[in-house]
Structure formats: structure tokens, C-alpha cells
Amino acid sequence: MIRALVLALALAFALAAPAQAGILAAEDAAELAQSLAEAQEEQGLCYGWNVTNNFSAGPDVGSGTGGPGAIMIPTLCKDGWVQLEGYIEYACDTCESEDRATVSISSSFANGPTTKDLEALGLKAGALTGDDDDTTLINMVNALPLLVADRGLAPYLEYEQATTVPAIDHATNKPGSDFMRDTWIQLVLFFALILAAPAFYLYKRKQTRESAPPVYIAPPSAPTSAPPPAT
């Protein structure tokens, strides 16, 4: 019932939304709200997100109960609730300050999930000002039911393997070498050491030569005409 209601709300919102607020496209927000509604149905907890900013007409906001654009109302969630909150600030072009973002997780639980849990999954607030800001926000919000289950506050949602995949769909943008990704810092460091060795030696040799006192070469002495010693 909740799923159907949220889906209807989401579709209505996606069709009616005049302009994108925040960093999420209306369609992404609708799909996100739907996944939270499904989590709510399984776990009995409410989920939502509310990320304000300084660059658009409205915040990124949505919830499993109200759909995209609707802020979660904690008092309606008697079994518990969890919400991602944040703020994204883009610095002006002429300002010296940098773009910044903060996130926090509010919940009705004393031992609820925290932003450290998100960071453990590689989801850092700073990424909300990067090129993948929307994907980062989707990942953060999507992770909430998993984090709650991880802390034993609700059961895990069942992992469902895809049964049918359209033949035209496939993975793209194959990642680069795993070896280089894992070791490039060491490789750069050790190559630098190898290159530094002859550079150091040549520098020191030059330094030594320049600082050495000039060598005095004595003029050849006049040949002596002394008679050989008598034997």
C-alpha cells in the first residue's frame, strides 16, 4: 500500500516538477523515495533526507513516507526514523573560500547510524561538492536501511539478484588497472628514490669540487748541475 502510494506520488512529482531543486534530478529523487518506502515496508522504520544548499531555489528533500520533495515527519513514525541531513555551499567565483559540504544522520535511536558509518563505506561529505554529487547523495541515502540493519536495529533487507536483464544493457567505463590504483603512491615514491640517488651523488660531487681550494702547481725546478755523489 505504502509502495503504491509513494510510487503514485513520485510519478506525479516527476511529471509536475517545474525545475530541479538541489543536486538530484526529480526522477532520481522519486526513485530514491520509492526505495526508502520499500525499506520502510520491510523494516518498519521511516527514512528521509534533507540537504539544504546555497545555490538553488530549494533543498534536496524527500522521504519514504511522503515521497520526493516531502520532508519526513518523525512524529508519524512510531517505530523509529532515520534521516540524512546536510548542507552544501558553493563558494562564489571571486571568493577565496572553497566549496564545502557537511552531513549528519539524525535518528530516533540512541545508538543509531553515524556519518562514520558512511565514511566506512567510502561516502564522504566532501564528495557532495564534486562531479558525482548526485550519485554520492543517492548512495548515502540508499545506505541508511543497511546501516540501521548493521547495528542490529532492524532486519537486513533481502538482497535480490536480478533475474532478467535487457540484452542491450551492459557495463561501461571499464575501470583502470587495480594494481596502479593500489600502488601508485609507492611506485612514485620508490622511483623518486632511485632517481634521487644519482642526482644526489652528482650534486655532492659538484659541490665538493666547487668548495675545494685551488690546487697550486709548483713551477718545474731548475735542473741541478751538482756532480753525482762520489762512490
Partner: protein
């Protein structure tokens, strides 16, 4: 001069030793998971058949989904990752690692190691549109919003 030559030799030696250690000690994420976790099964990988395809290998971890995903990602940095309500998915050059909840009645987490094709097919509902094409519901928009205000 002799002292400087010795120092230079030590620097070069440290660099060469470090390079050798780096080249010989690095293992793939498959190797790491095989050494660290308990294998509980294999199954035919989803997707098109092919001679270069690898079976899916399934492992069990005593640690939770979050902790297991973090442990694996800390050891072998993924190129991309997707976190969803039902698991954490790590993408590598040739492999996809899915860390998902345990089967009912057990604790810890399950780890599914697939090749790229298998991982994309298996987790299409979670990574479709993020790591590749997606023609499912709302497919043309999924995970790719342009982001405003930048």
C-alpha cells in the same frame, strides 16, 4: 666522495627493494578474499556464456556487511562503489564484489565475487545505470543527474 657514493647507493637500493616488494606483494581482490574468508560455494555466473567467463565464488564472513565491505575496500581500493539498502557493491577492473546480508538465520555477511559481466547482471537492479547502461524504469535518468548550481 666515498661517503656520498655510499649514501647514493643506499637511496637507490631502498628504491629498488621497495619496487621489488611492491611488485611482488600486490595481490588481486580475488586473492585477498580467497585468503581471508571461508568459501561456501560456487555457481555459474549470470550473463552471456563465454570461454573467458569465471564462475561466481561465494564466501562467508563473520563480520557485518558494513565491516566486511570496509575491510575489503581498505585492502584493495575499488574503482567505484555503490551502496544500497541491500548491500555494498565494489567494482574493480575485472571483478565485481558484492557484500550482501547473510542468508536467513545466520550472522555476518555473504561475499559474491563475479567477473564484470556477471557482477553487472547479478546486481543490475542495484548498479544498473550507475556502472553501465540501464533501460529499466526511469532508466534514462538513473544516477546521472547533472547537478545544478556548479
Amino acid at each position: 666522495m666515498r661517503k656520498h657514493a655510499i649514501i647514493a647507493s643506499l637511496l637507490a637500493g631502498a628504491g629498488v627493494l621497495g619496487l621489488i616488494f611492491t611488485l611482488t606483494s600486490h595481490g588481486s581482490v580475488r586473492d585477498h578474499i580467497a585468503k581471508t574468508y571461508r568459501q561456501v560455494g560456487t555457481e555459474k555466473a549470470p550473463g552471456k556464456a563465454g570461454s573467458d567467463r569465471k564462475d561466481t565464488v561465494i564466501y562467508a564472513s563473520n563480520r557485518s556487511v558494513l565491516q566486511t565491505a570496509r575491510d575489503i575496500a581498505d585492502h584493495n581500493k575499488p574503482a567505484d562503489r555503490r551502496t544500497t539498502e541491500a548491500g555494498a557493491f565494489l567494482r574493480y577492473s575485472d571483478d565485481v564484489v558484492s557484500v550482501v546480508p547473510p542468508t536467513a538465520g545466520t550472522r555476518g555477511s555473504r561475499i559474491l565475487v563475479d567477473d564484470e559481466e556477471g557482477g553487472y547482471h547479478r546486481n543490475y537492479g542495484y548498479v544498473g545505470g550507475f556502472w553501465g547502461t540501464y533501460s529499466g524504469p526511469a532508466g534514462s535518468f538513473r544516477g546521472g543527474g547533472p547537478g545544478a548550481g556548479k
